[in-house]
Subunit: 605 residues, 2 copies
């Protein structure tokens, strides 16, 4: 979901309270039971002279929201600025982004934001963050630059950013720090690692990477690229852990593409290929293969169209005139000349593939002569929606080829064998696994130790916000006691802020058991209800079928209120409300085994 | 979640309305906008003489809620009665169970409920269904009998059931139908397939099964069991599809157990093994291995304890005195003599393993000398919670062995190679894949065709409620046009009934965007608000930080009401409420990009 034309509202937690916020806010409410307490993020002790700080602000407790900070002297460099898609645990939340409080506190020292590559988990939080950290210059490769600019157009209210395109082997001086880019293999062009020169040695940040290899022997290019970096005096290697749990080497993209080529070549009917829009290399090669085998290509899905448009601008894709056609014109060509390249291989409800599967696509009706190729893996958490997609596709009696039955997908991240090779090439004294869940980092760390890459005491496995200091002229590395603010920052509609636990918890309860609102009007003179109470409920039980229980609830409310009010002068609404909540909550639980949120509205007239 | 001491409330959809039920039900509400329409499930045309009906009432559009009906003449046999655990798509729902309306309509013909084995997806819906279908006798193997009886104790208000234990090779005559049980290999003892004799040939129902084999050669026992069935004149084979998408043969359980034995033998510290409670054979063997290597066993988690208790009653597990110890007594033994067998390998929030990982277990504190063995696969949908479990376990710097790094788990379902072997052995004329999602069934059907087991026109892939008829003395098989009622039946607390779409949809909306209740009191004489409106909101935004927006909302409500009321005599509350809903909904969307459910409460005084 893209937010347009509206400034995100940044909630500043310095004015936040520790009150629960649980009671509904009313107009003339009484003072809250707990006093408002200002919570100020403590300012972290400034870095000491000669020390180096590495602070992962995101991406070391999850796959996503990558951001790594390197600080030395008066200079801070920030690497990557991604978001993370969220799960059922945080209902309603759009994304999670890195907590940049530490950077906001040290804005004046930030020399640059450096982007390793153009994937969303490395760039997509830029609009939410860049101005908060003082709008430093952004350095990025060509494709990443184009993608960032494109993304910024979705936030037209924001001030201009200052972005500069860089290339592998380029060197920059940012404040007193020198940096050097180097090419890495990944699923998007212009992916780079970065080496930061410090007086005590270099900090090498891998970015996301895999290796080009033949039978687990890296290509000469890999030897050249990583060898060049390995020549330096490297102090610390920060390395991609996403696939560290998988042994050996990843399947080479070239092999994947040749398998897809076989499928394209032999297709006797329409071919519908579902793929990740982030797989630039593959998307481009599929279009080139389509041309080779004289097929027309229909692009379906916004992200694929956008990314290929950017590939065209970058000159990476130069389709022949007439190759790309509109879905509505498909029927002018025989089925074996049609290739549809579509989003939605994760079973996203409204994406192109699911719409086709559900017979809701305006132009594409599937039939048994079609072949669907799911050139993607299943992102953890999407298993059920992918299964649903497969079920719905099979309703058309077509053929499905997916990554479990054929080698038609390989991710962009190196497996353990590749990671160990690269770590050895870099030959740094210290090692920090990054980009992954804690378990992935631990497995990566363990592998580095067991493969003799680095000694156990020279490995650090941080959390988001951990401050790693390299001290004593590079002879000591440790996580210091202080931590950069690391509470989770969520994008929830236009609101951006740290974990609104109360709201999230309420959403979870509402999702399970719904809400039950009771409205009672008391005659202040008599202490009796003016009429039988009203009840409004959502997401609890099917009310039409629960008339008896509703009537009993009304009776119980009436009794509760009138019993309470009997002795009261004046009437204490808080007591009455509490009793309604308790009594009705208990009653409903007993009747339904559900615990809806019970909200009493008591009015005196 | 187990419901105790409370009769489930069965909602009868014959009295259900087609009204949306969306508006809050109030005390003296006006007549609903749509009239109440009685929806009666149409009665399916009775079976014609000589025909056979096969009706899968559950388990052919999902993995779970298995129930298959065989009908011939005056007799109906029902096979299995399972539930399905549910997903995020149906928030708050406990389980889904088969729709048994067809059986209720034909109660008098039901001769028996026959259970193939004791897993929850084959037995757990019995308490919700057995009395609805006339409490027919239940036939089940020994372990299944014990498990069913145990489950019924959780529903003490229900009348007695009539359950009879049967054994492989046993034959029964039920009405005019003969049935015969045969042993199959599965992860729980006493698993059986059933063959139903009809004048036109036998209907063979596999139940869940895999094959015991050595290097993909089935054992003599498998040849004997399936060969015996294959001798008959088999008309239709209904076969497990759960693992039909996986090529080859499953990993033999014996091999898994020998790998676990190696781990137990070599453990130099505590061993914590997480496993499915449903894996009876493995649990029993782990305890036997613990005894062999002189270890004490701590059982952690209710379902493992219950199932092993049942294994003991059945005489399948005879632990030596002192083998099983309590967690609180663990520290009396050196770590290398301790084996903990625990539930929670799916990352369930409150299960034993997660409590240990989160340092919330009363007696077990993990440390770096511990080894955790996750002897289980990841059930689709649980990837994120399993990842969280792994992250939290690795916080203790212990060692984790899981099924991706070592062969320590194999499921209970045969892969395609096994399924094809069994289908060939049975040699039935017709084939119906069962027990799985539609996509699994289609792959299974395709394999049966491609392997020459059965001709394409003799395969049927049904949906839940499809009525398959074998007609013309067994020479025709088809799905007839009529369908048994198949709307989804959900257990939601004590309520059992068909899909409450409105409630589920509300829960989903509440989970995403929350609720916003506006309470306005109008002075009936002046048409003005008596006071500024009250607002109650949950799960929407953090109200404490949204004071300005709340005030604007109040102003908007006031303006809406007073503008509306100005020309009204008498005041039309419905118009006012609709305008509040519209105006506030639009305002909140613009301000927050969220769409909470807006509920206006308008009172006149």
């Amino acid at each position: 979901m893209i937010k347009k034309n509206n400034a995100p509202i940044r909630r500043d937690n310095t004015t936040k309270t520790n009150a629960t916020g649980k009671t509904g806010v009313k107009n003339k409410r009484k003072s809250p039971k707990k006093p408002f307490v200002k919570r100020q993020d403590p300012k972290v002790t400034p870095i000491a002279e000669g020390n180096i700080r590495i602070i992962p602000l995101g991406g070391v407790e999850e796959v996503g929201q990558n951001m790594t900070v390197v600080e030395y002297g008066d200079d801070i460099l920030v690497f990557d600025c991604g978001f993370q898609f969220v799960s059922e645990e945080t209902p309603g939340i759009d994304y999670i982004i890195p907590n940049t409080k530490y950077l906001e506190q040290n804005k004046h020292k930030i020399r640059a934001l450096i982007i390793t590559h153009g994937h969303l988990d490395h760039i997509a939080a830029i609009p939410y963050i860049i101005h908060e950290i003082g709008n430093p210059p952004i350095y990025a490769g060509n494709i990443a630059t184009l993608l960032i600019k494109k993304r910024m157009t979705e936030f037209p209210h924001l001030a201009e950013i200052d972005i500069k395109t860089v290339k592998p082997k380029e060197k920059l001086r940012l404040g007193k720090l020198g940096i050097k880019f180097f090419e890495v293999a990944h699923s998007i062009p212009d992916s780079m690692g970065v080496s930061v020169e410090t007086p005590h040695g270099n900090i090498v940040i891998s970015g996301d990477y895999k290796l080009e290899h033949v039978n687990e022997v890296p290509t000469q290019k890999e030897y050249d690229n990583w060898g060049e970096i390995g020549k330096d005096n490297n102090l610390l290697f920060i390395s991609d852990s996403t696939n560290a749990e998988m042994q050996g080497f990843s399947i080479p993209e070239k092999y994947i593409q040749s398998n897809i080529e076989e499928i394209i070549k032999n297709a006797s009917g329409r071919l519908i290929i579902g793929a990740f829009a982030s797989q630039f290399h593959r998307l481009i090669s599929i279009i080139e293969m389509a041309e080779k085998y004289n097929k027309k290509v229909v692009l379906e899905g916004r992200s694929i169209k956008t990314n290929l448009e950017i590939a065209k601008i970058a000159g990476l894709l130069i389709p022949k005139e007439g190759t790309l056609i509109q879905a509505k014109d498909m029927n002018q060509f025989p089925p074996d000349r049609i290739l549809v390249l579509a989003t939605g291989a994760q079973g996203e409800e409204f994406a192109a593939l699911m719409r086709m599967a559900n017979k809701k696509h305006k132009f594409i009706q599937l039939n048994k002569r079609d072949t669907v190729v799911l050139s993607s893996s299943v992102v953890p958490g999407n298993e059920i929606s992918v299964r649903k997609l497969m079920d719905n596709l099979y309703r058309h009696d077509l053929k499905i080829i997916h990554y479990k039955v054929s080698d038609i997908h390989s991710g962009g991240h190196g497996r353990q064998g590749e990671l160990m090779w690269a770590a050895k090439m870099v030959g740094a004294k210290y090692f920090m696994p990054s980009y992954g869940n804690h378990s992935m980092l631990k497995v990566h760390a363990q592998a580095a130790k067991e493969n003799g890459i680095v000694k156990e005491e020279n490995i650090v496995v941080p959390d988001n916000g951990s401050i790693i200091e390299i001290q004593e002229k590079g002879t000591v590395m440790k996580i210091i006691k202080e931590k950069a603010p690391s509470n989770v920052i969520m994008v929830d509609g236009f609101s951006i802020g740290d974990m609104q636990e109360v709201v999230i918890r309420d959403r979870q309860t509402l999702a399970q058991d719904g809400i039950f609102v009771v409205i009672a009007t008391i005659d202040l003179k008599t202490g009796k209800l003016r009429k039988s109470p009203d009840i409004i409920s959502r997401g609890f039980v099917y009310l039409r079928e629960s008339q008896e229980m509703l009537q009993q609830s009304r009776n119980l409310v009436k009794k509760t209120v009138e019993d309470d009010a009997k002795g009261m002068k004046p009437i204490d609404f808080d007591i009455i409300k509490k009793d309604i909540t308790d009594n009705i909550g208990r009653f409903l639980l007993k009747k339904t085994d559900k615990r809806p949120i019970v909200i009493p509205v008591v009015l005196g007239v």
